[in-house]
């Protein structure tokens, strides 16, 4: 099983999170350094909003000790992180990693970057040699869950930032953004971001401002062309999208101006994105044919709708995460029966093989190689048929939470019935078992408490 220790935007301020960030070039060495007993496998989930270590021990019983060790390592590296650490162990850890992969624990739910960041961490662990079968299974489970969430819900639907909404809306007006003229009137952080996004889509950006020096600077930043304020009307004739963000107290672009531009523009659609407060574009502009106007409130409303829709979808996504967790648990439980099934198969297989070889050396020694091979195939088929029902029942027993405690008793019974001595020709040694105990039974034998308990409270590093 697994343990997760870390900090996120929910528990730690950015000042702490940024101290934990690891340079990509050093990540492999860091992971190797973290792999000290009882930690056998370890990887990292590192984003701008979280830094988590995911580890696994040699046995399920080690989860708590793995969590403590990882927490101690993080606290030693960044002492300020200690009070902000949270941890999840066993089932809760697997559940947490799946939620993270499905972007349910992200600052902006449904954001798609998290999957890439998750895979990046796992790849780093694989290269460093700190990834083993347990964490590989956890990753596969998390990716499967995230895929289902993405396909079956609208968690990632809609745009959730004002600049991306502005670009998305313009796609509903224009067939292509490439080659369009986007005019930025004034300056401002958000307006520049919108202009940058249009430039990235291949649009030609023109920056118009009153302050020539500032206009040139903004044009340089967004990769556009600077023009003087007097050239505004000419720029508007060329424009397809106009992003305004001036500090003017009144309207910079009024209805009369836009109406006047209609003829030279030959009725082309014009999209205004007014990010200024007070507003730069007179609202009645919108009543003109083929003119569309969105101000900050309008854009924020679209963002809010997307966020509300995502929030509703999050409930469905949480259900999917739980469904997948149950599937994962059933598979894991069924795998508990594998050692007993393997032992049974080995035991019967050896017995049949020995008898066949004995016959082939005795009464059947006249058989040719072809007939001998046919007998071996028949032996194998007989073994499969013989063990099919016991295998299915053992797996079913292991996967059933109510019945799984019986698995240990059954393994013991199998041991007593078939296993003692390993070979009917050999004498029975009291106390020797050829059938391995079920994991739960094994845990009882070593005196460990049952694993799977989760502790999601924040804990100080190093405290058990």
């Amino acid at each position: 099983m697994t343990a997760v220790v870390g900090v996120s935007h929910r528990t730690a301020p950015i000042a702490v999170r940024e101290q934990l960030a690891v340079d990509a070039a050093r990540l492999g060495d860091e992971l190797v350094a973290l792999r000290v007993a009882p930690v056998v496998e370890v990887t990292v989930i590192s984003t701008c909003n979280r830094f988590e270590l995911v580890g696994a021990g040699a046995a399920e019983a080690d989860d708590e000790r793995v969590a403590v060790a990882l927490a101690a390592s993080l606290a030693a590296r960044v002492p300020a992180a200690a009070p902000h650490l949270y941890r999840h162990v066993g089932r809760e850890a697997v559940h947490h990693v799946a939620r993270v992969a499905a972007s349910l624990d992200s600052l902006v739910q449904g954001e798609p970057q998290i999957l890439g960041q998750l895979k990046h961490g796992w790849e780093a662990a694989r290269r460093a040699g700190t990834l083993g079968p347990e964490l590989a299974r956890v990753l596969a489970h998390a990716l499967r869950t995230a895929k289902r969430v993405r396909h079956e819900t609208r968690l990632g639907a809609g745009r959730v930032s004002v600049p991306t909404v502005a670009v998305e809306l313009s796609r509903r007006i224009f067939s292509e953004l490439s080659g369009r003229a986007a005019v930025l009137v004034g300056s401002g952080e958000m307006a520049e971001e919108v202009a940058r996004l249009f430039a990235r889509e291949g649009a030609r950006v023109v920056v118009v401002g009153r302050n020539a020096e500032r206009t040139r600077e903004v044009a340089r930043l967004v990769g556009g062309e600077a023009r003087q304020w007097e050239a505004l009307e000419g720029a508007l004739v060329e424009a397809d999208v106009v992003v305004t963000s001036t500090s003017a107290p009144g309207f910079v672009i009024d209805r009369a101006l836009v109406a006047r531009l209609r003829r030279p523009r030959r009725g082309r659609a014009l999209f205004f994105v007014d990010l200024a407060v007070p507003r730069d574009v007179q609202p009645t502009v919108e009543s003109l044919e083929d003119v569309f106007l969105y101000n900050v409130d309008d854009l924020s409303q679209v963002v809010a709708e997307s966020l509300a829709a995502r929030s509703q979808e999050a409930e469905r996504a949480e259900q999917i995460v739980l469904e997948e967790l149950r599937v994962w648990e059933r598979r894991r439980d069924a795998a508990q029966a594998v050692p007993a099934i393997k032992a049974l198969r080995d035991r019967f297989g050896h017995a049949l093989e020995r008898e066949l070889e004995r016959s082939l050396r005795g009464r059947l020694r006249h058989l040719g190689e072809e007939e001998r091979e046919a007998l071996r195939v028949m032996n194998e088929a007989s073994l499969n048929r013989l063990l099919h029902v016991p295998s299915v029942r053992l797996r079913a027993l292991a996967a059933d939470p109510e019945q799984s405690p019986r698995l240990g008793d059954l393994a013991t019974a199998l041991d007593e019935l078939f296993g003692a001595g390993g070979d009917e020709d050999e004498p029975v040694e009291p106390g020797r078992r050829s059938f391995p105990p079920a994991p739960a039974e094994e845990a009882r034998e070593v005196g460990a408490h049952a694993p799977g308990r989760a502790d999601t409270a924040r804990v100080a590093a190093g405290r058990g």
Binding site: A157, R171, R172, I173, S175, A269, E289, F292, V302
Partner: protein, 270 residues
Amino acid sequence: MSAAVDALFLGGLVAYSVAATLHAADLSRREGEGVARRAGPWVLGAGAALHAGHVVAASLLTRVCPVESVHFALSLAGLILVAAFLVVRRTRRIDALGAVVAPVALTFLVGAQFVSQAQPADSVPRGLLAIHVTANLAGVGLFLLAAAAGAFYLVQERGLRSKRSGRIAGKLPPLEALDWALHRLLLGGFLLLTLGIASGSQFTSPPAHGLVGIARLALAYGTWVLAAAVLALRAIAGWRGRRAAWGTIAGAVCVSLVVAIYVAQPGGLS
């Protein structure tokens, strides 16, 4: 041969129905591109191939030139509509129009089976009749497609002005693509309708058709004038978008009435 004709008809009917369902499913899909988006045009294309096969086989069976029969011409108009859509969608983002094209083609294919076949008067030249029927019905097909583009334009524009992120509006083509499609289809429909009217004027005599006939001719000419006005105002006064959409939809309503009267009046050609 008869069995093959029936099979082609049935195949076309099924393909168009499936294509209509797929395009509608794509429109109602929450987001992204699904199987419906990818498969829709292919199934529609398969429907058109079966439809074309049916027209050819049926005309061979009945020994009737497709363009000289109202049956076939109506069916052919649906086929032209589908072909125009499949060609245009390769370069323009108008896939959503498939949700209209497929049902209209289905209606034309099935509807043609119920049209009573009128026998044209002996005095009507066969070649002229063929041009008249084909041009008019192909023009009707393009008009209907243009009207569909206009309707989608209005929905998309309304969604943008409402400042809300509507599900359907978000799936429709951009306004610019719809306006482009509307203009080209209207222009094509107008030219065909002009040809139809010009060829028809050589052998029609309004008083012979009574009041209904006069109404049909008036609507046909009214449609032609309306389409001409929309095209002229676009060129002269820059009328685009919403106004062009309403004008085209009005034209499509008129032309649909002309077809309805025509279908209800089997003696139209005589």
